[in-house]
């Protein structure tokens, strides 16, 4: 997923010696600030809340960028097109599958934020079940419910310029992405594993030292290795790292006494429909 978008992002926002293809699409001069749109699909709102949680940076961001369409924060809606659109949430209804095309058409750069938008989110657990049965469990009158059988990432529907992972995203990474956009450079968002961050924090490996099952070796960094720092195993909320070796981790977990069902559950949580996790969980189920 990252791999598929890294190329276009680099060419559009990278510090190329020649004007990059996206340059002509950015507003010129100091008069017009770039316009930001924030759009929500099926989600918990936590990732867009990260923008409001960036207390130290919020007013600075608002000074550098025109917050043109952000319904969670403002009644004012300035019509598109938008220079930068942040898209939260997954596609779960036919209407939303149409709406994301409209958002794409209005957006010069479209960045997806969070596990719902980048991998379908927790609600993608329906992809492994019978959605009619799910509906009947939750809703007394399933005939009123109009919902797709799957929850899918935004990139499964429209081209995406950059994907920011996490359930939730890290607000510092979000500010980095917005800052990179404003300065037309590639965001510094690494694709290595949580293990790198854990080592950098000086944590002893909880899997080696304490025998606690941890998804850190297959999970993309970005959180700052929070869970191992709190004496619990990583639960994979940033989704698969680039080229994860899930079989090696599965073998290790087996030695720690973790059953197959718990391994599958671990892969099928907040990034269940991310291809690497999905493919592995289907093999182990």
């Amino acid at each position: 997923m990252w791999q598929s978008v890294a190329g276009p992002m680099t060419s559009r926002l990278g510090a190329n010696p020649r004007p990059h293809p996206g340059a002509s699409r950015l507003p010129r001069g100091s008069m017009a600030k770039p316009k930001l749109g924030v759009f929500k699909f099926a989600s918990c709102d936590g990732c867009q809340l990260s923008l409001l949680d960036a207390e130290d940076d919020l007013l600075a961001v608002a000074g550098a960028i025109d917050i043109a369409n952000f319904p969670e924060a403002s009644r004012e809606v300035v019509a598109g097109p938008y220079d930068l659109s942040l898209v939260e949430g997954s596609i779960t209804t036919a209407h939303d599958a149409e709406r994301i095309r409209d958002v794409r058409d209005q957006s010069k750069f479209l960045v997806t934020i969070g596990a719902c938008a980048t991998a379908g989110g927790i609600q993608a657990l329906r992809n492994f079940a019978d959605v009619e049965e799910f509906t009947a469990i939750v809703y007394a009158h399933p005939e009123y419910i109009s919902s797709l059988a799957t929850s899918t990432a935004i990139a499964d529907h429209v081209p995406v310029d950059f994907e920011l992972r996490g359930c939730p995203i890290n607000k510092h990474q979000l500010i980095e992405v917005v800052d990179a956009f404003l300065h037309r450079r590639t965001p510094a968002v690494p694709t290595y594993s949580v293990c790198v961050e854990c080592k950098r924090r000086g944590n002893p490996c909880i899997m080696v030292a304490d025998g606690i099952p941890c998804m850190g070796p297959i999970t993309q960094a970005g959180c700052g290795a929070i869970c191992p720092s709190y004496n619990r195993g990583c639960y994979g909320c940033f989704g698969p790292m680039e080229s994860p070796n899930i079989d090696a981790l599965a073998a290790w977990w087996e030695l720690l006494g973790v059953g197959r069902r718990d391994l599958v559950d671990a892969l099928r949580t907040f990034n269940a429909n991310a291809p690497a996790f999905r493919e592995a969980s289907e093999r182990y189920v």
């Binding site: 924060a73 799910f134 469990i137 939750v138």
Partner: protein
């Protein structure tokens, strides 16, 4: 005014609320024909996919119902699980749970009071617009909100979807010095939050008094966060396990949405006004003093004044956080041991927006056989429509644009969390 005979005010996408909701009112010949607060957020099926998951997954998974009040979901779920297993969490671990809730209340309440609600009273589209004229106020709010988030970061690992909550306690408990690091800013926040109450007290409030039936958790010794009976201003006094005997979710044909009612009585009100009316004497003395200073009586029945009560609760949360940190001694173990067994557990805690009820049936391996989650916004939905009707009746001559804004403000009085409500509501995903 639109048509002389028929006026329709429709807001297709409500702003400054959490999630996707809509409002529509129709007035014909001066008579209200239809009032609807509708929810079109897509369903996410939490109760369904919780089935078969281990009990220990519940706090992390249910947190994802709401990015603004994840701690509430974590707390209601762990309490329900602990009741099912016959486990009690006491002492410093219990105090740390209250501290985590203090952090969430501060963060969520300040977000709503100043970023989402105050702009209505002061006539701004958003807090960003408001900052152009009231920069000091917005900066105060951001700093106040940040200390709530700091508590969640220290204790929970991060502010959104904290990772440190488990059935039985925590994965890791903080060192004394980690909590001490919060004290200086909390002391600032105690003064700042009192000033914030005074600011809200100076706002203009539309006249409206509604005889709500208030429902909240009530504990004999403390302002309600995690534990207690469920009580109401109409005389209800029940254990959480009796929830389904007294509350019912009914289908209303015109909205296809479930509306909570007290059986055989009707709609009710959860949230800050309910907590205040039913637990006022249990507020921290600092919060009691400021509530008295700004003239809040025993019960506040003007829903527009929820902004004041929410601010008083921020003072409470800041003051209680300071008390908890002051008395903190690091427990020897971060959690009490839990033995799984088959059973049913109920949990009712106070999310920032009001009472949040969870019920789980567990098998003998500790896997979830059935889950029921009743979020505050779903409970308030019928009351929100009642308020809309009351505001509409009193302001029927108002110009459309002003009336629309007033009606939006009426909904925002409840700090509605539509993503929360949705996984549970019966809804029609139809935007026609």
């Amino acid at each position: 005014m639109s048509d002389e005979r028929t006026r329709t005010i429709a807001v297709d996408y409500l702003a400054r609320v959490e999630g996707e909701g809509a409002m529509k009112v129709v007035v014909r010949d001066g008579t209200i024909q239809d009032v609807g607060f509708r929810i079109f957020e897509p369903p996410r099926y939490f109760e369904a996919f919780l089935r078969g998951r281990k009990f220990s997954d519940a706090p992390d998974i249910t947190a994802r119902i709401c990015g603004i009040c994840p701690v509430a979901y974590q707390m209601s779920s762990v309490h329900a699980m602990e009741r099912a297993f016959g486990v009690t969490v006491e002492g410093q671990l219990r105090a740390l749970r209250r501290l985590l809730y203090c952090g969430e209340w501060i963060e969520s309440h300040v977000l709503h009071v100043f970023m989402l609600h105050a702009p209505d009273f002061l006539g701004y589209e958003s807090a960003i617009h408001m900052a152009k004229d009231h920069r000091d106020l917005v900066e105060l709010a951001l700093r106040l909100k940040k200390i709530g988030n700091e508590i969640m970061i220290v204790l929970g690992g991060r502010e959104i979807h904290p990772i440190n909550v488990k059935v039985g306690g925590f994965y890791r408990v903080p060192e004394r010095r980690e909590l001490d690091g919060l004290v200086e800013e909390l002391q600032w926040a105690l003064d700042a939050s009192r000033d914030a109450v005074r600011v809200t007290a100076g706002l203009d409030f539309p006249d409206l008094e509604i005889p709500f039936e208030f429902v909240s958790v009530h504990h004999p010794d403390e302002y309600p966060f995690n534990e207690g009976r469920i009580v109401s201003s109409g005389g209800l006094d029940i254990d959480a396990s009796e929830w389904n005997d007294h509350f019912v979710e009914e289908h209303v044909a015109r909205s296809n949405a479930l509306h909570s009612r007290i059986r055989e009585r009707g709609n009710y009100h959860v949230g800050p006004l309910a907590r205040f009316a039913l637990n006022r004497e249990l507020l921290h003395p600092e919060a009691m003093a400021i509530a008295a200073e700004v003239g809040l009586g025993d019960s506040v029945n003007n829903p527009f004044k929820s902004i004041m009560v929410r601010s008083v609760e921020v003072v409470h949360a800041v003051a209680e956080a300071l008390d908890i940190i002051g008395r903190y001694e690091r427990p020897a173990e971060p959690a009490v041991p839990v033995d799984t067994r088959a059973g049913v557990g109920h949990g009712a805690t106070e999310a920032p927006r009001g009472l949040l009820y969870h019920r789980y049936e567990l098998d003998d391996e500790g896997r979830i056989a059935d889950a029921q989650i009743v979020p505050p916004t779903a409970q308030n939905q019928l009351t929100i429509e009642q308020d809309l009707r009351a505001v509409l009746e009193r302001n029927i001559e108002m110009e459309d644009a002003d009336l629309q804004w007033r009606l939006e403000q009426t909904i925002r009085n409840y700090d509605p969390c539509i993503s929360c409500a949705t996984h549970f509501l019966k809804l029609e995903v139809d935007r026609e």
